[in-house]
Amino acid sequence: MISFYYILSFILVAVSVYHFIAAESPFKRLIAVNILGSAVFLFFLTTSKNTPSQNPDPVPHALVLTGIVVAVSATAVGIALILSLSKREKDES
């Protein structure tokens, strides 16, 4: 069961890297970055089962929580920049 999550996260990493490189539109690339983030968080959380005892390791949870906060605020900055860019392009045409 654990390996299913590992494989899923690797597939998501591959998908997001492909789209980040291939996509033209900045919004698609921002979404790709977000998917990469989710993939990495999924991978990181799955590793918390990786302990000798029955209890999961809490450290990855805390780190992923921090990572999510950072990813959300970074996405907000990205969207703000995309909006301001499209506004400037509209003004010109």
Partner: protein, 480 residues
């Protein structure tokens, strides 16, 4: 003599927050700018005196729960020159915003201080996850600084930079997750022990190295740097080009010297990075020579100068075996230091050129030698440092690196270092030629605000003359 290292991050953040309050802005900038600078210098002196690393656990929590901060000769040195560049750029900005972009000033100071806090946090961090958080702080603040002028070109460059930088940060986190999954720790000194017991960390190298190469614009990931660093205002360009690309290279040195075991498979990795560094020097210099505008020239020159920091990665590998560790660390630090100061000075001086001539083509560069001696000497000293003319800081850096590479008979590194200097001379030459030109239409008598001239000159002068006091500056590094 002791110092809570957390203050080095807290004071710039406080300064940034207070600078948002309109009436308090200049007081906040003065007080917290000076305090942060003082603290950085104090930390530098502490590392000089202490000789061995100083560890602190934030809030008294010990690992694995707590966050470790570490101050040693290397991080102390980086803190010190970060503060020097920030003070120089800060003084410049006080003059700069009086004449242009007045409406951007409040945001500028906020991001100025947060960038400083992010850099300090990065240089002090001891665990890999905290480094990730600092990298994200750097990406966000640097991304906004790129967009600061607000025109379309800047916003587009900023968006490209931000997306790529976030992508690289997440790749870095992926590498960190692999390391945590294999060793159950993120603290560097604990990993140093476990890395020598098992080779699982090799799986994390690909995401980590790709991510750090993107962040420090190593060839072939350099394409985001020239538009991002050239389209923004002069003080922001100076900060980005001199400081923001340095941390990933610093982390690579740190990890290689302190954490990586003596592992044969790492030699191939080091050579890949070394060759990419050599390519960065050649391509960066080639494109710098071909540029028509001064800011693009300087941005490509940053690509070339960052190449040196990667060219010498095979030396880190060798340094694990031979008695030249200190020489390599000294050469690296001196190169990072002299490039940071010289590039900041160059960008500030280019801001002065744009201030008087309103254009940034090199062929419209004013004949500063006849009208503005301070700006001329800023360009002269910082150019000499980039080229590595004798006595300058850049000369001393290259001298140490060439000495180290010949000691372990790595002729390739030595020859590329020498060729790199020659190429740097070729792209610095047009700047000097134009600023010496006699044509009357290129001599502007428009006065430049005193602060803008003096700060550019001071940074260039310190970059040049640091070669004379390098022995004193570098003595802290022998304990690393």
């Amino acid at each position: 003599m002791s110092l809570d290292l957390g203050y080095l991050v807290a004071f710039p953040i406080l300064g940034g927050l207070l600078s948002l309050i309109g009436r308090l802005r200049l007081y906040a900038v003065f007080v917290f700018g000076l305090l942060s600078c003082f603290l950085s210098f104090y930390a530098f002196l502490l590392s000089l005196k202490h000789g061995k690393p100083l560890y602190q656990w934030v809030g008294g929590w010990i690992p694995p729960l707590g966050i470790g901060l570490r101050l040693d000769g290397l991080s102390g040195f980086f803190l010190m020159f970060t503060a020097v560049v920030f003070v120089g750029v800060g003084v410049y900005s006080l003059g700069f915003f009086k004449s242009a972009y007045k409406e951007r000033e409040e945001f500028f100071w906020f991001f100025f201080f947060f960038l400083w806090a992010g850099l300090n946090a990065f240089f002090l961090s001891e665990d890999l996850f905290n480094l990730y958080v600092s990298l994200e702080v750097l990406s966000l603040t640097a991304g906004v600084l790129v967009a600061l002028p607000g025109h379309k070109k800047a916003v587009r460059a900023s968006l490209n930079y931000l997306l790529l930088s976030l992508f690289a940060s997440l790749l870095y986190l992926f590498g960190v997750a692999i390391i945590y999954a294999s060793y159950g720790s993120l603290s560097m000194h604990m990993l140093a022990k476990s890395f020598s017991e098992g080779g699982e960390f090799l799986y994390s190298l690909l995401p980590l190295i790709v991510s750090l190469s993107i962040k420090s614009a190593l060839f072939p990931f350099h394409f985001w740097l020239p538009p991002a660093h050239s389209s923004t205002i002069a003080p922001a360009s100076a900060l980005l080009s001199s400081l923001v690309v340095k941390p990933p290279a610093y982390l690579l040195l740190r990890v290689w010297i302190e954490v990586f075991p003596k592992d044969k498979s790492l030699e191939y990795v080091s050579w890949v990075l070394g060759l990419l560094g050599a390519l960065a020097i050649f391509f960066g210099s080639y494109y710098a020579i071909r540029q028509k505008t001064i800011k693009m020239l300087l941005a490509y020159s940053t690509v070339a100068q960052m190449g040196y920091l990667f060219l010498i990665v095979p030396l880190y590998y060798k340094a694990q075996y031979a008695e030249m560790r200190t020489t390599v660390i000294e050469g690296f630090t001196m190169q990072a230091f002299s490039h940071a100061l010289a590039k900041a000075s160059m960008f500030l001086a280019s801001g002065n050129a744009i201030y008087v001539s309103k254009r940034d083509d090199i062929s419209y560069m004013p004949g500063f030698a006849h009208s503005h001696p301070f700006t001329f000497f800023a360009l002269f000293f910082s150019g000499a440092t980039l080229v590595g003319l004798p006595l300058s800081g850049g000369f001393f850096a290259k001298f140490l690196l060439i000495k180290a590479s010949f000691e372990v008979s790595m002729l390739f590194q030595g020859v590329v270092l020498l060729l790199g200097s020659l190429l740097a001379a070729l792209y610095v030459y047009p700047i000097w030629r134009e600023s010496l030109s006699f044509q009357p239409e290129k001599i502007y008598h428009l006065p430049i605000p005193r602060l803008m001239e003096v700060s550019a000159f001071a940074l260039g002068f310190v970059a040049f003359s640091s070669g004379l006091v390098a022995g004193f500056l570098l003595q802290a590094l022998s304990g690393v």
